[in-house]
């Protein structure tokens, strides 16, 4: 009797669980749907007080209009964002990867001091230093240049910290085999360690790319000129403009999240693994 009752309760519980999950999933997907729906609607469909789930007709020309509108430099902003994100991602992987490996594996008398020097910056929220960073970068004459947008983001203490933790747990036997062959640190790193760490590198790379693509405060501060706008700045400017073409704005936003959504679909497994291995929750 008890077991039958228990299993009834379990079944009822699992039905409730699935109902909550499905309702939650619909709520979480709804904003994505609204983005697509509005991008393919007419202005009237979006602002109509009589809101409908589906647009009255699909306006595919909105996509073409966005890129042919001479007043909206959206193509340029996309290109800027792409260059910034790709260069920053590769840069962070190389710079932080090397630093993390050096800290984890090369014996050096002051290695601990160097490590504390790096970790200390984790305690200072990056956003708080935007005023002096702006001052520094403008002193260098890098305002509204790609350099000004890219270079300060190349030195990510958190990425270095994660790489160090990961390399500490990398199986030493693999490296020792290579070192017997007389390969120095440099060769061991590139030929043994990197090829065997693609999953972790993909995880850090994806997280860096997302952060770089979605960055807002720094580009807002350092790129006042239209020529250096990123996708996020362009969207934000259209959002607060006097006159907005709503369907075009939604198409632009849809295109802005497209690269990341595609990346998510293909690389999600690595991101999840990377987050799980990051040791944040150890």
């Amino acid at each position: 009797m008890a077991t039958i009752q228990r299993s009834r309760a379990d079944q009822a519980g699992s039905v409730v669980r699935y109902v909550v999950l499905v309702v939650g999933a619909i709520l979480f997907l709804l904003p994505f749907y609204l983005l697509v729906r509005n991008g393919l609607s007419t202005e009237q469909d979006i602002t109509s007080p009589d809101w409908k789930l589906f647009p009255s007709s699909l306006q595919w020309h909105n996509v073409v209009d966005l890129f042919t509108d001479p007043l909206l430099p959206f193509g340029r902003a996309l290109l800027n964002s792409l260059v910034i994100s790709v260069v920053q991602t590769i840069g962070v992987l190389v710079i932080s990867g090397l630093a993390g490996y050096g800290l984890a594996r090369i014996p050096f008398r002051y290695a601990n001091a160097v490590f504390y020097f790096i970790v200390a910056t984790l305690l200072i929220p990056a956003a708080v230093t935007f005023v002096p960073s702006f001052v520094l970068v403008s002193t260098l004459g890098w305002v509204s240049t790609l350099r000004g947008l890219i270079v300060p983001g190349l030195f990510q203490a958190f990425a270095t910290f994660l790489f160090r933790q990961y390399f500490l747990n990398f199986p030493r036997e693999l490296e020792e085999a290579a070192q017997l062959d007389g390969t120095a640190y440099w060769g061991t790193f590139w030929r043994i360690v990197v090829p065997n760490s693609t999953g972790f590198i993909a995880a850090i790379g994806t997280i860096t790319f997302i952060g770089s693509w979605n960055a807002f405060l720094w580009p807002l501060v350092i790129a006042p000129d239209q020529s250096a706008w990123t996708v996020q700045i362009a969207l934000s400017t259209f959002l607060t403009a006097q006159t907005i073409n709503l369907p075009q704005l939604f198409v632009a936003a849809g295109i802005a999240i497209l690269p990341l959504v595609v990346m998510f679909v293909f690389l999600q497994r690595w991101i999840v693994e990377g987050v799980e291995r990051s040791g944040i929750s150890e």
């Binding site: 200072i124 956003a127 230093t129 005023v131 440099w186 501060v221 607060t240 936003a253 799980e276």
Partner: protein
């Protein structure tokens, strides 16, 4: 000289290799993180309007001005209110999602992906959807349409301060963007709980809430501490959604202005007042450090194992 070179390179050139591997990163950190911090502290003691090489030393004057400035104080109050909303709600939502997804066998990856997907979305894009599609002005928008189905009056979500509906807009946008990420952290934590603990609890006849209360939550303690700390630090740095949801072609409303938005307008607005901006940044950093420290103490972060 050769002797010195050998010493600098170290045994098997180890020192040299360490510099080659770690050097570029440390140099970049020095120039782009440490220099700005020191510069900020220096600027905060000077009258630095429209200049970054000031000569007029004012001591703690900027700090006192900021602490006396009711707009800056109210921005700190805005933050506290925001944190009081967002930290517990996101914590409960992400833990709840993790518990639900963790116990799901069917379509588990699907649900995990759906809840995680908003992480790919920027605050700007979310603000745009929230502002122009869900929480529009009085007549339009999804939220007002849904209210209409229940016969309720439409609401001016972002343009009234009484009642402060804009908080709902801001908090829900951030929750949507963040909950999935913290869910992943909780899922990782749940996976590390030994199954034997649950088996032992089952033998003792513990079910449902009791298992959650006496096994799951205590075992998730480390994860919970990390999540709370991250949520709080992120809340302190709130900027993107406040800026994009509330600023309009006409300007930015003085209410709902968190510290970073205030500092942005103070330092980079018309006055280019780097002195007061830097003093505010230093105060904010100290405040974040203090709260993190107190929270860490309170939650037992860094406490030695017994």
């Amino acid at each position: 000289m050769p002797a010195l070179a050998t010493r600098l390179r170290g045994r098997y050139d180890r020192n040299l290799w360490f510099v080659i591997f770690v050097g570029p990163f440390v140099l970049g950190l020095l120039v782009f993180v440490y220099v700005p911090i020191v510069w900020s502290v220096v600027l905060s003691f000077f009258d630095a309007r429209n200049t970054v090489t000031p000569t007029d030393f004012v001591g703690l004057g900027n700090y006192l001005d900021m602490l006396r400035d009711s707009a800056f104080r109210s921005s700190l109050a805005t933050f506290v209110l925001f944190a009081l909303f967002i930290v517990p709600t996101t914590f409960v939502a992400s833990l709840g999602l993790a518990l639900l997804v963790n116990r799901t066998r069917f379509a588990r990856t699907f649900f995990r992906s759906v809840f995680f997907l908003p992480t790919a979305c920027s605050y700007v894009v979310a603000s745009l959807i929230w502002k122009l599609s869900i929480f529009n002005g009085v007549r339009f928008g999804l939220a007002n349409t849904v209210l209409g189905w229940f016969g309720a009056e439409p609401v001016a979500w972002l343009s009234v301060t009484q009642p402060p509906w804009y908080w709902l807009v801001i908090v829900s946008a951030r929750m949507w963007l963040q909950a999935g990420f913290y869910m992943i952290l909780f899922l990782a934590g749940l996976q590390r709980i030994a199954p034997s603990l649950y088996e032992a609890a089952a033998i003792d006849g513990a079910t449902g809430w009791k298992v959650l209360r006496y096994i799951t939550l205590p075992q998730l303690r480390a994860t919970s501490t990390a999540v709370l700390l991250l949520l709080l630090i992120n809340a302190f740095q709130a900027f993107d959604e406040f800026y994009n949801l509330l600023s309009s072609a006409g300007g930015y409303p003085p209410y709902a202005r968190p510290p970073l938005v205030y500092l942005y307008y103070a330092a980079l607005g018309q006055g280019q007042d780097f002195g007061h901006g830097s003093a505010g940044a230093v105060l904010l950093t100290l405040l974040i450090a203090l709260v993190a420290l107190v929270q860490g103490r309170f939650l037992g972060l860094g406490k030695r194992e017994d």
